[in-house]
Subunit: 258 residues, 2 copies
DNA sequence: CCCCAAACTTGATCTAAATCACTACCCTAC
DNA sequence: GTAGGGTAGTGATTTAGATCAAGTTTGGGG
């Protein structure tokens, strides 16, 4: 109901967007037209339900590489759905012992960390030029109370984090960790309609290493090692998985041979 | 030496467990009479809402030490609230490289891992004689749709897992990890009305080590080292935190001095 | 087009923690 | 009680991966 009005509001009120060549169309895109709808919150919503959801999702923000979407301590009121690009969530500590806790791809929701205390617990930083949809949390909850499918989907999305293999296994060694991360990314790219065996990493080696609890040099070495073993072909950010099965073996099972 | 608190602890813990031949009373205990209500799902529910929640929570199960509540692959239909005792969630892998992903104390909910796929992703094993309340998931969702406070509480509970410091920091070393675990347990005991500086661990050194991604010997050594430094007093499962501040320093900041 | 800084790779060395090996200390059951 | 298995503590040794120290590639800006 408030589609047009909203667009105008956006245009007038959000300064950071004006610097980018954003079209009205870009801001207008509704959930029902979004190719990510089947991954994101709108899963299995009826058209008019989709419309309700769409009505509370007002803004589309665009961030350049390195820009922060929110910081530790920022007060919480919205979740953010990645529309394009990617993000990292990073928990800073004294001494630079910061820890990257997640990477986010299109269709994934950020901000759950803040529900507990109403303050964000991590910094969310764009890994490349990216856009996000703002989802007011209170509105979402209210809507979820009326739309069982939406409630279920929200809870399902949150339950991802409870799946052991969406977290790094602390009892795995370096190559298992790298292999697991590559497989996890592969499957997430595949879900989004991209190739499962060939993709570009948006994060640096350092980001990967930090996420996995390794040194960047170690990640680098494992990449070259896996290249020598014809499991991967790596060219900077470009990953080509040559032997998927073997990568799976590396990721979890680590066959007896040796 | 440890006067009232320990007695309370005893009182709260042991009696319920010894009632192995479950009485009607035991099964009947309603949420409104449960001392854990303020931690568990019933937070901030009105009496009649509490009543509705109570009406779907049917069974109380009792498990002895080492018994499993559910296993990987078990089909999902219920969440479980720990009523007394404690549990570990463990993801088994080939080669015994299993990973303990969580410990659960009274008032905490288990089973979220299974929402995604309708199958449990971990084994839940009692660390001591323990009891749980079964909460049918579909019933809970339905109720949550009608009771905003319940919905909010469910989502708040799930959001715990997104808090970076409810997970082990991968870029921390052995003593930081042990210190963090002790502080986390301390705070959870305190929430439950027990002492924050003196408590009994229900898990073995091996469980702790596995959870933290360390060797049991390392955990053992760190305990003795922290004893020598007068930070802790450890007697098998019995922990006494002597220098809380110093333990916090160990856990996250690791001050320059030394 | 070249320069420079950042990102990445590679090799040499070091070290925190794993592993191995053994002793000590509970509990629980005869 | 005491026998015996499981759990914990401690020392000696090894090792995976960190750290240190160069190179090398790359891409963006002047």
């Amino acid at each position: 109901m408030e589609s047009t009005l909203n667009d105008e509001q956006q245009k007038n009120r959000t300064p950071q967007m004006s610097e980018l060549p954003t079209t009205c169309k870009e801001f207008r895109q509704a959930c029902e037209n979004c190719s990510l709808a089947k991954l994101c919150l709108p899963v299995s919503l009826a058209p008019q339900e989709m419309e309700s959801l769409n009505s509370i999702i007002k803004k589309r923000l665009i961030l350049e590489r390195g820009k922060t979407l929110f910081n530790v301590g920022d007060s919480f009121s919205k979740l953010y759905a990645v529309h394009s690009g990617s993000f990292k969530a990073i928990m800073p500590t004294y001494y630079g012992k910061e820890q990257i806790t997640s990477f986010y791809l299109p269709g994934e929701l950020m901000g759950f960390d803040a529900i507990q205390s109403d303050q964000h617990q991590v910094n969310a930083i764009a890994l490349e030029t990216s856009s996000v949809c703002e989802i007011p949390f209170n509105g979402l909850l209210q809507l979820a109370g009326n739309i069982p499918n939406l409630q279920r989907q929200l809870i399902k999305i949150m339950s991802h984090k409870f799946n052991p293999d969406s977290n790094v296994n602390l009892n795995s060694n370096a190559d298992e960790r790298v292999a697991s991360l590559l497989l996890a990314l592969s499957s997430r790219f595949a879900q989004r309609g991209f190739s499962a065996v060939q993709f570009n990493l948006s994060m640096s080696r350092q980001d990967m290493a930090n996420y996995l609890g390794l040194a960047t040099e170690t990640v680098s070495r494992i990449f070259t090692q896996m290249q020598e073993e014809k499991i991967l072909q790596v060219n900077r950010k470009e990953i080509h998985i040559l032997d998927f099965r073997q990568l799976q073996v590396r990721a979890c099972v680590k066959v007896a041979s040796e």
